[in-house]
């Protein structure tokens, strides 16, 4: 199972180590540093690294490498999932997962890691349970603790850990009972030069914020459940009900959680909200090039496209850009070679355009590769797949909760080739 964990920052400093079995020398990380160096970009470090006696499985989150050491045959996905869970827990506890917050809360971090694994076996990874065991730091609590001398470790057995619904603690009480669901859809797409869709799919998630007293039993139904044929559920969802009735029936965890994620890949269901007309060309001589980009609405279902941002990864030889944007602002970073054009709201009457010249390193040959455009956008009150929640019913408790559903569509990995 998982033997040890090392946290390493972007600069290559090892700033935390935790061993669940015998202590493994940190020199094992030299193999990681070697791979890190070879990969150039931190994103490109291979997730599984073989060393003579161990395997290093790592993830890169928030500029931190979480490097775990295993010695026997352990499913790598198991380790990677767990590492993500660690990162999420830190995020959950400290608001952000960064070297600073981890160092600031090193004792809690250590306590958490100890609770999350025992001898390399996962012990408590549900945020609900962890929070019962180890209370997250708040300014108020640390003040109270200093004054009263009480601790931030729970004194009782976490109740949920033993019930058949380990994700929910008992005795939840709220004065305002509320249940909110956010349907968030991201469009992953690749469009080619001419604007034709090469590939498009929707990654959807339903995020829930449920603050209900007692043991509520919820069921959520959709207007068009047929859209969903590839789904992953939170462990609380009763799969049999979904199979037979296409209803999501569950006893929710307390607080924020991801109820389900889904994946729609049927091409005809994936609407592309914007089109991009672009022309980026480099001249054979004169060390310069031209660029002209226009963005316009395509299938927006009558909604407004907001937070529109176009990012262009320029070839290495592009020194600077002298452009004119009809809307929004642009910025070219000559170090990373990334051009960011922040457009904002898309006005269908007056299409935003970015036009001008690019200057290249003098004497350098015309770049071989074509730059690629990435689009970011957001559409409120729309799930682009057309998914709609029908109703939410609650059983098992008497009170009447507030209920609400919000929809939002974003661009995920939305790429336009040139």
């Amino acid at each position: 199972m998982i033997h040890s964990l090392f946290l390493i920052n972007n600069a290559g400093d090892l700033f935390l180590e935790k061993h669940w079995k015998s202590v493994i020398s940190r020199s094992v990380c030299d193999y990681f540093f070697e791979a890190r160096e070879k990969a150039v970009e931190p994103d490109n470090v291979p997730p599984v690294i073989r060393t003579p006696h161990h395997y290093l499985i790592n993830i890169y989150r928030e500029k931190i490498f979480f490097v775990s050491v295993i010695q026997t045959e352990v499913p790598p996905l198991f380790v990677i999932e767990f590492l993500h869970r660690v990162a999420e827990t830190f995020q959950d506890y400290f608001g952000e997962c960064s070297e600073t917050t981890i160092k600031d809360n090193v004792v809690i971090v250590y306590e958490l890691l100890e609770e999350m694994l025992d001898n390399g076996f996962p012990l408590a990874t549900e945020s609900n349970i962890l929070k019962e065991l180890i209370r997250p730091p708040t300014i108020l609590r640390s003040m109270v603790n200093t004054i009263t001398g009480s601790s931030n470790v729970g004194e009782t057995l976490p109740t949920g850990q033993l019930s058949t619904i380990p994700w929910r603690r008992a005795g939840v009480k709220y004065t305002n009972n509320e249940a909110y669901f956010d349907v968030v859809e991201e469009i992953d797409a690749i469009l080619d030069k001419s604007g034709t869709t090469v590939f498009a799919e929707i990654q959807g998630v339903i995020e829930a914020c449920v603050k209900l007293s007692g043991m509520p039993d919820l069921s959520l139904s959709f207007m068009n459940p047929r859209l969903l044929d590839d789904v992953s559920f939170h462990p609380c969802v009763r799969y049999k009900r979904w199979e037979s009735e296409r209803v999501i029936s569950f006893i929710p965890p307390d607080g924020n959680f991801q109820l389900m994620s889904y994946h729609i890949s049927a091409q005809n269901l994936v609407a592309i909200p914007v089109y991009v007309k672009q022309n980026i060309s480099f001249f054979e001589t004169g060390s310069s090039g031209r660029m002209d980009i226009t963005v316009g609405p395509k299938q927006t279902m009558g909604k407004t496209v907001e937070c529109l941002v176009v990012t262009v990864h320029m070839p290495k030889v592009v020194l600077s850009a002298n452009l004119n944007a009809t809307q929004g602002t642009y910025n070219y970073d000559p170090v990373t070679k990334i051009l960011v054009w922040d457009i904002g709201k898309l006005n269908p009457q007056k299409l935003p355009n970015l036009k001008g010249s690019l200057s290249l390193q003098s004497g350098a040959p015309k770049p071989e590769e074509n730059p690629s455009l990435n689009i970011d956008l957001k559409i409120q009150q729309l799930a682009i797949s057309g998914l709609k929640v029908n109703r939410l019913d609650m059983y098992g408790e008497k009170y009447k909760p507030f209920k609400g559903v919000k929809y939002v569509t974003k661009a995920g990995k939305f790429q336009v080739r040139t």
Partner: protein, 958 residues
């Protein structure tokens, strides 16, 4: 108020200060001090000096302080074992605490203190905790058994903890079940044959029930454990599949992949025409696709596994090509994997799309990725015939870009396309030749030279082109040199008049000025061929080459099957059998997909192994590392075969020899074809060109086969006392090593027939069927003369006696020791290997009585060096009795002589392979109480003498 304050004290007297604070009376101060200590510990500072002070803080009611002290203890107890004992009392007390959280914490921490002395004290509390009323404590205790086992395995076994752990599989709480499974699996890893996880339908049912209710991690443990189960029939497999399928919708990708593993494995047992089979296939695609929208690290592992799945069952993802399209910001390791899968999924239906994508990728920034994309285009051309033309024109477009590495990759793949579709695309040669100067990588240069040589008659200035390469001959890499040599010889054979000088030049460069033996050898072979028989040379060098097969990069089928059983593991990430891992290989069991009995698929595997040497060689030559995989194959031979021949392994040797030796000898284009094509075409080339070389190669095979023998040797044979008539049966294969099958046996020679008497005992819980047996090559060519006759299924606790007649016509390989026999026995559960030693008297034939004259002549003829002297003591026999006894074992007395009160017997023995062993035996007759015999043995193969002597001794003593 953050913890960073704990890092600020870096002054010299830090330890001293902390010490004072730890011993403070104020609770709060104590706690702060412990926190500081922990903080220092986390960043790797040595605070072990504070051990006694920290341990003193342990006796507290404050849970947080207690936990912190525990954290400290776990880290430093190892370095301060004597001090750690101080903590034991508190632990033992805490294990009795009314609060289950404390009890669990105590037992958990104790298990983490890796000090032998402490582990002794741990046993009693642990025993109690394993039976605790609170499931939280039980599940913690279950893991603790695994910890303890890691520290002191013997102790765990002696204390009976393993049995308690097995009982926990039936616990009412699913989390306890999951942890018990996890602990047992971990322990089982270091005890490969211990049957710890004895799975039967009842336990499976319990596991499946627990599966629904335990945590995500527990589900992974249970699923991985389920994957080791062997369902009795297809109905059981189907019902397990049905209950596992819902896991495919789990949010945790590791759960999903483990579920995929179980389904992929059990699916194999379902009849293909079953509706459910189709449903299951459909259900597998979406979760696999979903894995690809996860974080890149997860994607990577998923892709490595999908790569296996699409090789095994391409139908699952055949419509999902688009999800493998590479995105601009994918990390490089994801990009390369996606590309690989795209090619595997490429078919006539989607080739246009794939090609368009690949062309797009070829203009990307990342050099490695671009290269692989170009190569992929070539692979598409070879895989999908209809697309070849399109691929070639795409490649030509890419060559026009003049980007150096793109051009080079393109040329390498075009060479392969020429081999696949001869006489179709040669029109592009002109374009290729234009780029000759820009090639600086050996592989590309070699490819270009091959093309020039192969099509010399169509290229007007072929001689000039090759000559230009020849100038820097010694600076080229071996690959290029070999290719240049071959190309020029080809050119000479095609245009002998103009190129005589050139060929002489290259031959002298290769044979006289080179240090490379391969190059020299090849040079000499060509030279002799050309000088002795130009016609033959033409036939050899310009022989028609077999077409290259479409996918030479497929994983070898047995390995693939094994990897499918290991989906989701490191083995699946590295595409290597688990045995190839350094640390993880402590106890790896070979897993194999078990196909439904009688289904079409079961016949596929033996085909690979059994295809005769005359047939086209299989596409993939297994490398040394895969030999074991092939042994598995060998055992798949249907039990009905009259002579389960050991030919596959023979052929293996032959193939190796061909692959390794012949191609460098015959060396057509073999070396340069490396890369994507692998060794196989070159072998094909070798075979096609020189069939006459085959027998020689086979003759040499045993030497090469050594690797195979070595593998067997690992099994550490249970030695058998070399008995005379029939030795009592000894256990050859203990039940522990063979999943409940125990085999004991002995050898006998009855009426001129060697028989292997076997007792098969089933000590497992389930019925065993489908027995088959096979021998490895051995010194005297022993082989089963018929199938293993176990007609009725062997039910639990039943023993069956079988006599297996043996022939001596099997393939021969010298074993160490000489009479060692390595045996593979297969049943419905698995294949098991063991080795045993047969008394060499088994192969003494009945007509072993030599003529007196011949004996004398032979005795003189065998050099004295071959004479071996032995002594047999404590024999109470006179010469006649001895002679009679020996005769029973086909040791014949030729003559008897009495000299100076000593009887001299002259004896002869003939072995099944025609070797004669002569002996002179001197028997002291003077003193009846003390009889000593002297035996001198002469044989042309002196290595058999000690074994023959053993026989004499045993025959005489029994």
């Amino acid at each position: 108020m953050t913890d960073s304050k704990y890092f600020t004290t870096t002054k010299k007297g830090e330890i001293f200060e902390l010490k004072a604070e730890l011993n403070s009376d104020k609770k709060e101060k104590k706690k702060e001090a412990v926190k500081k200590v922990i903080a220092s510990m986390t960043v790797g500072k040595d605070v072990s000096a504070l051990f006694p002070d920290v341990v003193n803080c342990m006796q507290t009611d404050n849970l947080e302080l207690k936990k912190l002290v525990y954290l400290y203890l776990m880290n430093y107890a190892k370095s301060q074992p004597d001090m750690a004992i101080m903590a034991v009392n508190t632990f033992v007390k805490d294990c009795e605490d009314p609060n289950p959280l404390i009890r669990a914490l105590a037992v958990r921490t104790m298990g983490c203190i890796r000090v032998d002395k402490i582990t002794e004290y741990l046993c009693e509390p642990l025993r109690k905790c394993l039976k605790d009323e609170d499931p939280y404590v039980r599940k913690t205790a279950a893991v603790c058994v695994a910890k303890l086992h890691d520290i002191n395995a013997q102790l765990v076994e002696d204390q009976g903890f393993l049995d308690t752990l097995k009982d926990l599989i039936s616990d009412s709480n699913p989390m306890v079940v999951a942890n018990a499974v996890a602990a047992l699996s971990e322990i089982a890893e270091s005890h490969p044959n211990s049957n710890l996880l004895d799975l039967n339908p009842q336990t499976i049912n319990k596991l499946l029930t627990a599966l629904n209710e335990c945590t995500e991690w527990g589900q992974i443990f249970i699923l991985d454990c389920l994957a080791n189960y062997m369902p009795r029939d297809d109905r059981e497999s189907q019902s397990i599949c049905e209950r596992v399928t819902p896991r495919l919708s789990h949010a945790n990708s590791a759960v999903v992949l483990s579920a995929v593993k179980v389904l992929m494995k059990f699916m194999e047992m379902l009849p293909k025409d079953l509706d459910y089979y189709g449903t299951l296939l459909k259900k597998l695609a979406p979760p696999l696709v979903t894995l690809l929208s996860a974080e890149p690290e997860l994607q990577y592992v998923a892709l490595r596994n999908i790569n296996l799945i699409v090789q095994k069952r391409p139908e699952i993802l055949k419509h999902e090509m688009k999800v493998f399209f590479v995105k601009y910001n994918d990390p490089i390791y994801v990009k390369l994997e996606k590309l690989d899968i795209m090619i595997r999924l490429a078919s006539q239906a989607n080739i246009a799309q794939v090609l368009a994508e690949l062309k797009e990728y070829a203009t990307e920034v990342d050099v490695d990725f671009v290269r692989k994309a170009v190569r992929a285009i070539g692979r598409c051309a070879i895989k999908v015939e209809q697309s070849a033309e399109r691929c070639v024109s795409t490649l030509l477009d890419l060559i026009q870009t003049k980007v150096n590495y793109v051009v080079q990759e393109a040329i390498v793949v075009i060479k392969d396309i020429f081999r696949k579709y001869p006489n179709k695309y040669e029109s592009v040669i002109a374009t290729l030749c234009e780029n000759l100067d820009s090639l600086d990588e050996p592989e590309a240069r070699a490819a270009m030279i091959w093309i020039v040589g192969e099509y010399a008659e169509r290229i007007d200035n072929a001689d000039e082109l090759l000559e230009s390469f020849l100038e820097g001959f010694h600076d080229e890499s071996t690959q290029v040199q070999l290719q240049l040599l071959t190309a020029i010889v080809k050119l000479f054979l095609k245009k002998p008049t103009e190129t005589q000088e050139l060929v002489q030049q290259v031959l002298s460069l290769a044979t006289q000025d080179s240090d490379n033996p391969d190059l020299r050898d090849r040079g000499y072979i060509y030279w002799r061929l050309l000088s002795t028989d130009p016609v033959a040379a033409k036939e050899v060098v310009l022989a028609e080459k077999p077409l290259i097969s479409e996918e030479t990069d497929l994983i070898e089928p047995t390995l693939l099957e094994e990897l499918i059983c290991h989906i989701g593991t490191l083995a699946s990430v590295y595409h290597k059998p688990p045995s190839a891992f350094v640390e993880g290989s402590r106890g790896v069991q070979h897993k194999k997909l078990t196909a439904r009995a009688g289904s079409g698929e079961s016949a596929e595997s033996p085909d690979v192994g059994l295809s005769g040497p005359s047939e086209a060689p299989p596409a993939v030559i297994p490398s040394q590392g895969d030999l074991l995989g092939d042994l598995l194959n060998l055992d798949l031979a249907p039990p009905t075969a009259t002579v389960p021949s050991v030919q596959p392994s023979m052929q293996m040797g032959a193939m190796d020899l061909l692959g390794g030796g012949l191609d460098s000898l015959m060396g057509d284009e073999s070396d340069t074809l490396g890369g994507d094509i692998g060794g196989s075409p070159s072998m094909g080339g070798g075979l096609g060109v020189a069939p006459a070389a085959m027998p020689a190669a086979l003759g040499g095979a045993p030497a090469v086969g050594g690797g195979l023998g070595d593998l067997f040797d690992l099994s550490g044979g249970v030695g058998m006392p070399t008995g005379s008539y029939v030795a009592p049966k000894t256990v050859w294969l203990p039940a522990m090593k063979a999943k409940g099958l125990e085999i004991s046996g002995t050898f006998a020679r009855r009426g001129g027939i060697i028989q292997m008497d076997l007792s098969l005992t089933n000590k497992a819980m389930s019925v065993m069927t489908d027995f088959a047996i096979q021998f490895n090559r051995n010194s005297f060519g022993l082989a089963p003369a018929g199938p293993l006759q176990v007609l009725t299924p062997l039910s639990p606790n039943q023993t069956i006696d079988v006599s297996l007649p043996l022939s001596t016509s099997g393939p021969v390989m010298k074993m160490e020791p000489l009479n060692n026999l390595q045996v593979a026995v297969k049943n419905n559960i698995d294949v098991f290997y063991f080795s045993c030693q047969y008394p060499i008297s088994m192969i003494f034939v009945e007509d072993g009585k030599m003529e007196r004259q011949v004996f004398l002549a032979t005795w003189k003829d065998i050099p004295n060096d071959n004479e071996a002297l032995f002594q047999i003591k404590d024999i109470h026999l006179n010469s006649d009795a001895a002679s009679n006894k020996l005769q029973g074992s086909n040791i014949f007395t030729i003559a008897k002589r009495t000299v100076e009160g000593q009887d001299m017997l002259y004896l002869s023995v003939k072995l099944t392979n025609g070797i004669w062993v002569l002996a002179e035996m001197r028997i002291q007759t003077g003193n009846p109480n003390y009889t000593e015999m002297e035996l001198s043995i002469k044989c042309r193969a002196p290595e058999v003498s000690p074994f023959v002597f053993q026989c004499y001794e045993l025959v005489l003593k029994n």
